[in-house]
Amino acid sequence: MGGRSRAAVQLLNAKGFKTYNLKGGIKSWKDPSAQGPEDMGLFLIKGDETPSEIIILSYGLEEGLRRLYSELAKDSKDQTLLKLFNKLAGIEEKHKKKLFSLYLSAEKSQVDQETFENKIVLDFMEGGFTVKEFLEKYQPVMKTENDVINVAMMLEAQALDLYVRYAEKSREQAVKDVLLGLADEEKSHLNSLANLLDKKTGK
């Protein structure tokens, strides 16, 4: 397994890159991984869409995460968990605001956030899964609090993954910067969830 990445290290070093090989490959990676093909979630991202379209998609993703955390908070009996879910829902709300103001400056438009969310984003996201469907699908595997944290981590990992890939596709520096900033915050969410899981499993 390690052969391919070592070869890659050699090729890249010869071209002047500073390259590290991940020892043990993905098998040694114990943190959440992301699933899906390279173009997953990029079905609408061809690299030629307007910054606004990328912003709209990201906004939809944030709203999905926010709703999920709110739903999970409703079901949480555990105070620590309840606090964390509420906090995360609050942060996703802030992310939405950030994306919305980015949208305003990209579009030079005068729309208010509610109209933006209900008209523009929902129209664009038509056909995506709803949080309700998602919860129905995952309910059977969310029996314990640890399961719930696991699912949340999986989603955060996917969001982080998508932002990094959207940022790479985006040609606008301002959009790139915001997306990478969001990715950094999702990364820290992932760490908060991981710490909570460690505490719960008494690591």
């Binding site: 050699q10 890159f17 090989n21 991940l22 043990g24 991984s33 390279e38 890939r165 760490n191």
Partner: protein, 73 residues
């Protein structure tokens, strides 16, 4: 590329090192590169990885920023 290049020890990073590195550095300041095949990537990959299967690496090298360190697996 010279024959000496084959004897350069590559810098290894354990998963733990890589995780710490990623937590300390901002997204976009480094490249996480998956050189496996699309099917393997689809099955699971480290969040934020870019996929360039090894056979295509040299043809697609201009997709990588030489200013940024690369962590590859």
């Amino acid at each position: 590329m010279s024959w000496k290049d084959f004897f350069i020890m590559s810098d290894n990073m354990t998963a733990q090192d890589a995780k710490e590195y990623m937590d300390k550095h901002e997204q976009g300041s480094y490249t996480l590169l998956d050189v496996r095949q699309p099917g393997e990537y689809e099955h699971n990959h480290i969040p934020g990885s870019k996929l360039i299967p090894l056979p295509q690496l040299l043809d697609r090298i201009d997709e990588l920023d030489p200013e940024k360190p690369v962590i590859t697996y």
